[in-house]
C-alpha cells in the first residue's frame, strides 16, 4: 500500500512539476508563430519587435500572437493602436474579452506601459517612437520582472501620416518581420480578396540570430 502510494506520487511529481513551471514561464503558441518560434513558445518577459512597412501584415502578425493558445487565460493590452479593426481580430480568434485598448496614451506612454505590465501578460505598443532609449531600458527590465511580454510594433511608414511612428530604441529578444503577398480571389473588377499570404520571419538574439521564415495563408 505504502509502496504503491509512493510510486504513484513519484510518478505524479515527475509528470506535474515541469508543466506547472512552463506555464508560468512561457506562452505556448500555435498556428504560424509556433512554427517559427523556438520550441513553439515565447518566454514571458521578453521583448518581441514586429517590424514592417505600412500594410505589410504587421497587425495580422500581432493578432497571431494574441490569438495563440497560451493567451487564452491571459490578458493583453494594446497601447496606441488608433485605428485597429477589432472585427478582424475577432475573426482571427482573438478573445476580445481579455483585450483592453488604450488608443491614445498621450505623452505619458512609457508610464502607461509600465503600469499595464504589472497586470497584463502582453502589452503591445504601436508608437514606440515616443519612448526614449532610457525609458526603453527601464521598460525592458520591468517586463522581465513582471513577466510580461512587450510587443513593439514598428512600422517604417504610415499611409495616413506618411511618417513612421518612430523607431524602438531599446533592445529586443525576437524580431518578426512580415510581408503580405499574392492576393487571390479578385481580378480587374470582379471577385473579392479570398486569401492573402502572410510571410513571417523571425530573428532571435537567443538562438544566435538564426532566422526562420514561414508563409501562411490568411
Amino acid at each position: 500500500m505504502n509502496a504503491a502510494v509512493e510510486r504513484s506520487t513519484s510518478n505524479l511529481s515527475g509528470f506535474v512539476a515541469p508543466q506547472l513551471l512552463a506555464s508560468e514561464r512561457y506562452v505556448e503558441l500555435d498556428g504560424s508563430l509556433a512554427k517559427i518560434f523556438p520550441a513553439g513558445r515565447v518566454q514571458l518577459g521578453s521583448v518581441v519587435l514586429f517590424r514592417g512597412a505600412s500594410n505589410s501584415g504587421v497587425t495580422s502578425a500581432v493578432f497571431e500572437l494574441l490569438s495563440s493558445g497560451g493567451m487564452q487565460k491571459r490578458w493583453s493590452a494594446l497601447v496606441g493602436f488608433e485605428n485597429l479593426g477589432f472585427l478582424a481580430a475577432f475573426e482571427k480568434g482573438v478573445d476580445l474579452a481579455k483585450v483592453v485598448s488604450v488608443p491614445d496614451p498621450g505623452r505619458d506612454l512609457a508610464q502607461v506601459v509600465a503600469v499595464l505590465m504589472e497586470a497584463f501578460s502582453v502589452v503591445a505598443i504601436a508608437n514606440p517612437g515616443s519612448i526614449s532609449s532610457s525609458q526603453a531600458r527601464n521598460l525592458i527590465s520591468r517586463a522581465r520582472s513582471n513577466k510580461s511580454i512587450m510587443a513593439v510594433v514598428q512600422q517604417s511608414f504610415n499611409i495616413y501620416t506618411a511618417r513612421s511612428k518612430g523607431l524602438w530604441l531599446g533592445s529586443h529578444d525576437y524580431v518578426i518581420s512580415s510581408s503580405i503577398s499574392s492576393f487571390s480571389g479578385l481580378s480587374k473588377g470582379s471577385g473579392f480578396i479570398k486569401e492573402r499570404c502572410l510571410s513571417l520571419s523571425l530573428g532571435s538574439r537567443r538562438v544566435g540570430g538564426t532566422i526562420k521564415s514561414i508563409t501562411v495563408p490568411i
Partner: protein, 560 residues
C-alpha cells in the same frame, strides 16, 4: 439630504445607456423575514428565551431578550455570559439542521408558485403577478401576514398554545416576530421588512437614502466608505458610478446599485442559452430523503461540473420533485455565491423533508423523479468570489492597473465588443473596461458571429486597420482621369493609380474587386447617402478597402 436624493434619481437614466443589466429595474418583491429564526428552529422554551447563537466564540444571533441586556452581534460569547450568566448559547451548526424553514416558507407558495428562499429565515416571491391577482399590494401583504401566522402555529404548536394564553406571540419581543415588506429588489425589501413597510414602486432609492452605510452587505467596503465620509446609502448612491467602480471594483459597483434601489440580483430568471437542467429518474421510487439524495449525488456533481466547465455558476436552482403518483413539489432555492454539490444536495433534502412532513400536501407515494433546473446562471467571472483564486487576483490586478492608466491618460481604456452591422465601425462597440469587467459575458461575442449576414456587408476577412476619420484618396486611370462610379455598380475607367491625399503617397493599382453598393444612414432619408466600396490591391501599399461617396474616394480600411 433631499438634494442628494434627487441627484441619485437623475443618475438613473445613465444606467440605461449600458446593456443589459443596467436596463433592468429592480423587480417588485414581497419578502417575509423572521428576525429570530435561529431561535425558533432551535425550539427553545417560551417565546422569549435569553439566548445567543455562537460561532467560534463570537455571537452571531441575539434573541430579543438578550438584546435588552445589551448583548450585540459580534460580541464575544464569554463576555456575554458575564453580562447574563443564565444565557443559553446555541452552537451555530445546531440551527435549522433539517431545513425546517422550508416548512414555514411553504405558506408563501400559495401566493406564487416560484418561491425563493433567500436565506434561512427569509423568503421572497416576485410580487407583480400576485398583487394584481389578490387585489392590490396592501391586500397581498395582509393576506401573507395572516398566512404566515397560521403556518407558524401549525408547524410550532407551542406558538398556538401561547397565543391561546393571550401572549403576544408575534409581537416585538417574541422570537416569532416577523416582518412582511414589499419593495423594489431584495436589498430594499429586507430593510423595509424590519418595520413591515410597503415601499411604493420607484421610491426605493429615496427610501434607502437616509439609512447608514453600514447596511451594505459588505462590511469592508462599508467601513472604508464610512472612513471616507460617506455616511448614508443616499450619499453613496449619488457618487459617480465609474469612480465607485474604479475604487471598489465590480463588488463596489454592485453595492452602488443596491444603494440606489436597483438591486436586480434576485427573483428574476435570466435568459439561459444552454440547457443545463438535469432530470434524474430514480430506478425505483424512494421514500427516505437521504436515499433520494444519495442517488442524486452523482448527477448533481456532473451538472455543477458541467456548469463550471462552461464558466458559469448557478445562483438560483429550481428543484422539482415528483412522486410515483404524479404529485409535484417545485421550489426555487437561492445561494448568492453559487451552489456547491453539498449546498444543492442539502436543499433537495430540505425540500423533500418539508414536503413529506406537510400533512396536507405530502406525497402519497415515494419519489420517482428529481428535476433540477438552473434559474439564474451567472458568468463565473462576474461572481465576486472566483472559482480559482488566480483568476480573481488577475482580475483585481487588471482593474487596479487600468484605474491607474485611466488616471494618467485622462480617458477610459476600453474593450471591444462585436455586434452585427454592415459597416466596419458599426460592428465594433468600445465599452469602458469597468462595464466590461462587470458584465463579462463570453457568450456575447460568439453570438454576434452566428448572426445572419447583413446585406451589403463585406465578404472575406475584415481589414485589420479601420480608419475612423476619412482619408481621402484619388483613384485614377492610366491617363490620369478620375475613376467614377456609375449606377452604383459600374466603374467608369480602370483604376491604375492611387494617391493618398494627405501624404501624397502614390501607388500602382494591380487588382480591384467588384463594387459593393451600400446605403449609409438609410434610416434617415435626409442624410442617407449611397456609397460604393471596392477592395484594391496596390504594388506598394498592399490591399485596401476604399469607398466612393459623392464622387470622392476614401480609405476605409487596410488589410494589414
Amino acid at each position: 439630504m433631499s438634494k442628494k436624493i434627487s441627484k441619485a434619481k437623475l443618475r438613473r437614466p445613465l444606467y440605461s445607456l449600458f446593456d443589459p443589466i443596467e436596463q433592468q429595474t429592480a423587480p417588485r418583491v414581497l419578502l417575509v423575514e423572521f428576525f429570530y429564526w435561529p431561535f425558533i428552529s432551535a425550539k427553545l422554551e417560551g417565546i422569549d428565551p435569553l439566548a445567543v447563537v455562537g460561532d467560534r466564540g463570537i455571537v452571531v444571533h441575539v434573541s430579543p431578550r438578550a438584546l435588552m441586556t445589551g448583548i450585540k452581534v459580534g460580541d464575544k460569547v464569554r463576555a456575554s455570559l458575564s453580562v447574563a450568566p443564565s444565557l443559553e448559547v446555541i452552537p451555530v451548526d445546531a440551527v435549522d439542521p433539517s431545513g425546517s424553514f422550508a416548512r414555514i416558507a411553504i405558506a408563501l407558495e400559495q401566493f406564487s408558485p416560484f418561491l425563493e428562499i433567500v436565506d434561512l429565515g427569509t423568503c421572497a416571491i416576485n410580487a407583480r403577478g400576485p398583487s394584481r391577482y389578490f387585489g392590490g399590494e396592501k391586500e397581498l401583504v395582509s393576506k401573507v401576514t395572516q398566512a404566515m401566522k397560521d403556518q407558524i402555529v401549525e408547524v410550532f404548536p407551542v406558538a398556538g398554545e401561547l397565543r391561546n394564553n393571550s401572549a403576544d406571540v408575534f409581537g416585538r419581543g417574541s422570537v416569532f416576530s416577523f416582518g412582511v415588506s414589499m419593495a423594489d429588489g431584495i436589498f430594499t425589501a429586507r430593510i423595509a421588512a424590519r418595520d413591515s413597510l410597503l415601499v411604493p414602486p420607484g421610491e426605493s432609492s429615496s427610501f434607502l437614502a437616509p439609512f447608514p452605510i453600514s447596511e451594505l452587505p459588505d462590511g469592508d467596503i462599508a467601513d472604508t466608505l464610512d472612513r471616507l465620509g460617506v455616511r448614508t446609502l443616499g450619499e453613496f448612491a449619488s457618487l459617480d458610478f465609474y469612480r465607485v467602480m474604479e475604487r471598489f471594483g465590480a463588488r463596489g459597483a454592485l453595492l452602488h446599485r443596491m444603494a440606489g434601489g436597483l438591486d436586480t440580483s434576485a427573483l428574476e430568471t435570466s435568459e439561459i442559452k444552454e440547457d443545463f437542467s438535469q432530470k434524474i429518474e430514480l430506478s425505483e421510487s424512494l421514500e427516505v430523503a437521504s436515499a433520494v439524495v444519495f442517488v442524486c449525488k452523482a448527477r448533481v456533481e456532473e451538472m455543477l461540473e458541467h456548469l463550471l466547465e462552461k464558466g458559469y455558476f448557478c445562483q438560483i436552482m429550481r428543484v422539482r420533485l415528483m412522486s410515483e403518483n404524479g404529485e409535484e413539489s417545485i421550489r426555487d432555492w437561492g445561494v448568492k455565491d453559487g451552489f456547491s454539490v453539498q449546498l444543492l444536495l442539502e436543499r433537495i433534502r430540505w425540500q423533500l423533508e418539508s414536503w413529506s412532513f406537510d400533512p396536507k400536501l405530502a406525497p402519497s407515494a415515494g419519489i420517482e423523479v428529481v428535476e433540477l433546473k438552473p434559474q439564474r446562471i451567472v458568468s463565473a467571472l462576474r461572481r465576486q468570489l472566483d472559482l480559482d483564486g488566480s483568476e480573481r487576483s488577475s482580475i483585481a490586478k487588471v482593474s487596479q492597473a487600468l484605474s491607474r492608466v485611466d488616471a494618467i491618460v485622462g480617458e477610459r481604456a476600453s474593450v471591444a465588443k462585436i455586434k452585427g452591422s454592415r459597416t466596419l465601425k458599426g460592428s465594433v462597440e468600445m465599452v469602458p473596461w469597468q462595464l466590461h469587467l462587470f458584465d463579462l459575458d463570453e457568450s456575447r461575442n460568439k453570438k454576434a458571429k452566428e448572426e445572419p449576414p447583413w446585406p451589403g456587408r463585406l465578404l472575406g476577412s475584415s481589414p485589420a486597420i479601420c480608419f475612423d476619420s476619412e482619408v481621402e484618396v484619388s483613384i485614377l486611370t492610366k491617363e490620369g482621369i478620375s475613376v467614377m462610379v456609375l449606377a452604383d455598380v459600374i466603374l467608369r475607367g480602370e483604376p491604375y493609380w492611387m494617391e493618398v491625399k494627405v501624404s501624397e503617397k502614390k501607388a500602382r493599382v494591380l487588382e480591384w474587386s467588384s463594387p459593393w453598393p451600400m446605403m449609409e444612414k438609410w434610416w434617415d432619408p435626409e442624410h442617407s447617402t449611397k456609397v460604393v466600396r471596392i477592395q484594391i490591391v496596390t504594388d506598394d501599399i498592399g490591399a485596401l478597402l476604399v469607398k466612393s461617396r459623392d464622387g470622392k474616394w476614401f480609405i476605409e480600411g487596410l488589410y494589414d
